[in-house]
């Protein structure tokens, strides 16, 4: 029996069949036809205040659930507002499907009202995109989009739907898995690692005297946290988790060294520098990790596991490249190691290495100077208190800048998928909408957004969305009246010449603003008020809460490897810098 549907009805039905439960979006002219059948669909639609918010919400949702986030907006300016979240999702490998309206096929290319070349504009910020020219193609294109977004190295896929394609009649059909595969002859991600390479990796691991597991976001994407833990404990090697991988390995595990990189801790940075083997799992040798590449981990051999073959050798040539899914490859490496150990081979003695690493940890804990009574509040102190008072399993989201680095440094991530941030693109304003998306994905969890005053002012209006849609999140605004990270660079590298970084100490009034958006607003100005404010915020479940912490503008993030410099030249907190010879 043939069933006739409009393109719009087919779209919504296809999304339902793909298991979509939530769409973040905002309607407009060309996408109007798709919003009509949405009224009859069980899919929840969350009406945002700005299309960028819809994109970041979809990302936040995808981060915490592992399922693709879906955003739907209209053509032209709505599509261009989506470019930032698409690029953000592309950089951080977030599975996302974005649906944009387009002017009717007959008007394409005429500079029609709200027309833009969406597929052209988004080509370099999506894993794939398509302009759908006939309604009959919709089911297959939707299936392809979800398949591409979620397999291989995940990423955003955009479908551009002209208005007449949504209005036209089509004969409903639902492609099978093999239809989808056959329709994509050029898309065959490699998931299983090469057996010879896996053996080779196992051999290097057994020989290494100074191994480090260098863990990136790919481990989370591959849902490989359990396998990683098994591998780390089997070989008893220290683990560093990059900004994108915080939570992939528990921070309170004795093998966990925390975050390496530009603002990583001295131990994680130095352990990588001095290592003789970096077991690289789903990480991509980002410049924020390596510092100056030619002086990065000079004595280390490299095992590089990544599902994207283009990452192999892009920055650092691996000794053992393994293309594959991190979870499958780690499991195979564990198997190979167990076989070799059972066959009588022995792992090299790494005890000297481990005691050297422990020495660094003792010598160089994260450090900040507590404020004296009456002095300005320290942002790190606020985060420590927030960490200690928040329920287990709390999801932490952050914007971009100093507050992001302090969050990553001072939080204890003991569970995967509890940390949501914009790593690759560094998108200011990510935090509030991402936290809303995270809360939609995990309504059972407490979701805290840590934000700076600069970031917050970019996307705060989505708290109206949160209030109207009854999505209660909590926001900690670390207000230092500055674009803090830029200020830090101007202080350190531009001779304290502060250019266009001072925002305002009084404007906006964050408490009133929060209240105007239907949230509870709390202001904290001294250390004594911190705990009570956090306790109050944690006790409110029926509304969003914004806590403004007025913090010390002079506080800087340490350690720091200045851009383009060697990790050997990491700048420690001034209180520790006299001990730097211990890092040898």
């Amino acid at each position: 029996m043939t069933e006739k549907l409009t393109g719009a009805q087919a779209l919504i039905r296809a999304l339902e069949l793909e298991g979509v439960d939530t769409i973040f979006g905002l309607p407009g002219g060309c996408i109007l036809p798709a919003y009509d059948p949405l009224l009859d669909s069980p899919i929840r639609h969350i009406l945002v205040r700005h299309e960028q918010g819809a994109g970041h919400m979809a990302e936040g949702y995808a981060h915490v659930t592992g399922r693709p986030g879906v955003a739907m907006v209209t053509s032209g300016p709505a599509a261009t507002n989506m470019v930032t979240p698409l690029c953000d999702a592309y950089m951080d490998s977030i599975p996302m499907v974005c649906i944009t309206g387009q002017v009717p096929t007959t008007a394409i290319g005429t500079d029609a009202f709200q027309e833009c070349d969406t597929v052209g504009i988004t080509r370099s910020v999506t894993k794939h995109n398509e302009l759908i020219m006939t309604a009959d193609d919709i089911p297959l294109m939707v299936r392809q989009a979800f398949h591409i977004a979620t397999t291989g190295r995940p990423g955003p896929v955009l479908l551009d739907l002209p208005k007449d394609v949504l209005q036209n009649q089509m004969t409903w059909h639902w492609p099978t898995d093999s239809d989808v595969e056959d329709s994509l002859p050029g898309y065959r991600p490699t998931t299983k690692g090469h057996p010879r390479m896996i053996k080779e990796a196992a051999r290097l691991i057994l020989e290494s005297k100074q191994p480090v597991l260098y863990v990136g976001g790919g481990v989370l994407k591959a849902r490989a946290a359990d396998a990683l833990r098994e591998l780390a404990e089997l070989i008893d090697a220290p683990v560093v988790t990059t900004l994108m991988a915080r939570g992939a390995f528990p921070d309170d595990h004795p093998l966990c060294l925390g975050m390496p990189g530009m603002h990583g801790n001295a131990t994680a940075i130095t352990a990588m520098q001095k290592s003789d083997l970096l077991i690289t799992l789903g990480a991509r040798f980002d410049d924020r990790i390596t510092g100056r590449v030619n002086s990065f981990a000079p004595d280390a051999k490299i095992i590089h596991v990544d599902i994207d073959p283009a990452e192999q050798g892009k920055v650092r040539r691996p000794d053992v490249p393994i293309v594959g899914d991190c979870r499958l490859v780690i499991e195979e490496i564990i198997k190979a190691l167990r076989d070799m150990l059972a066959g009588g081979e022995k792992q090299a003695d790494i005890s000297a290495w481990k005691s050297r690493v422990s020495g660094w940890r003792e010598q160089f804990p994260l450090h900040y100077t507590q404020s004296e009574p009456g002095d300005a509040l320290k942002p790190q102190y606020c985060l420590e208190k927030l960490r200690d008072a928040s329920p287990e399993g709390t999801i932490l989201c952050s914007g971009v800048g100093q507050h992001q680095m302090w969050s990553s440094q001072y939080w204890k991530f003991n569970e995967p998928y509890t940390w949501v941030n914009s790593g690759g693109l560094g998108t200011m304003g990510f935090s509030v909408p991402a936290a809303i998306g995270a809360k939609v994905g995990r309504p059972d969890r407490t979701v805290w957004a840590v934000d700076g005053d600069g970031c917050f002012q970019m996307t705060a209006q989505e708290l109206v969305t949160a209030s109207v849609e009854r999505i209660p999140i909590k926001v900690a605004v670390l207000n230092n009246s500055y674009l803090g990270m830029v200020r830090q660079w101007q202080e350190m590298f531009y001779e304290e010449r502060y250019s266009e970084v001072y925002l305002s100490p009084e404007l906006p009034d964050f408490v009133k603003w929060a209240e105007a958006m239907g949230c509870v607003g709390i202001r904290v100005e001294s250390p004594e008020e911190v705990e009570a404010a956090i306790e109050k915020a944690n006790s409110i479940d029926d509304r969003s809460v914004v806590v403004e912490f007025r913090v010390d503008a002079g506080e800087k993030v340490f350690p720091m490897v200045p851009a383009g410099q060697s990790n050997d030249d990491v700048i420690l907190h001034p209180a520790q810098s006299s001990q730097r010879e211990f890092l040898r």
């Binding site: 080509r123 370099s124 302009l131 994509l184 002859p185 050029g186 991600p189």
Partner: protein, 177 residues
């Protein structure tokens, strides 16, 4: 290798014959900072597929990275790197040369020696074509230059593996994400 450009490599890229594919490929080269030396595109024996023959300039970036990034495009089905010693290459050139009627015979003779064709003759100019290996075209172009080239267009090379030996391919046949 050939053409006096030792850093040039020939990539034969099989793609789905769909709108926007060329934009994806050329956009990737632009975005990643790779240089295209020449580019030729046309459908293959299978109308669902097109073959893009790209001569890449890899002084600026390793070939391996180009190939891997290209492979990530969903529309790219197969990539072969063709070794000039084990492949046949052809290119077509059309040139209009300014030449007075009394010297025209010299250009005609030259074209005949190269086994080219005379496409059009005017009072003060002549248009000739030549197909062949890129080196042969280089030589012909050099000789025509002495007469004064008004306009010249080359197609960029197309190439296929030689039949006696298989084209050496640096890339596995499997596809990547």
């Amino acid at each position: 290798m050939s053409n006096g450009h030792p850093a040039h490599h020939i990539l034969s890229v099989l793609v789905e014959n769909r709108p926007g594919v060329l934009a994806r490929v050329s956009g990737l080269f632009a975005r990643r900072g790779y240089n295209i030396f020449s580019l030729a595109v046309a459908p293959t024996e299978d109308p669902a597929m097109s073959r893009i023959t790209i001569v890449v300039d890899v002084e600026s970036s390793p070939l391996e990275q180009i190939v891997k990034q290209l492979f990530k495009l969903v529309d790219v089905v197969k990539i072969s790197e063709l070794d000039p010693r084990r492949s046949v290459e052809r290119e077509l050139m059309i040139a209009t040369v300014r030449v007075p009627a009394e010297e025209r015979g010299q250009v005609v003779e030259l074209t005949n020696i190269f086994e080219g064709k005379i496409l059009a003759v005017g009072t003060e100019a002549i248009t000739v074509s030549l197909d062949g290996s890129p080196e042969k075209l280089d030589d012909f172009e050099e000789l025509l230059r002495g007469y004064g080239i008004v306009e010249l267009q080359r197609t960029g090379r197309v190439a296929l593996p030689k039949l006696d030996k298989e084209a050496r391919s640096r890339v596995a046949k499997g596809k990547a994400s």
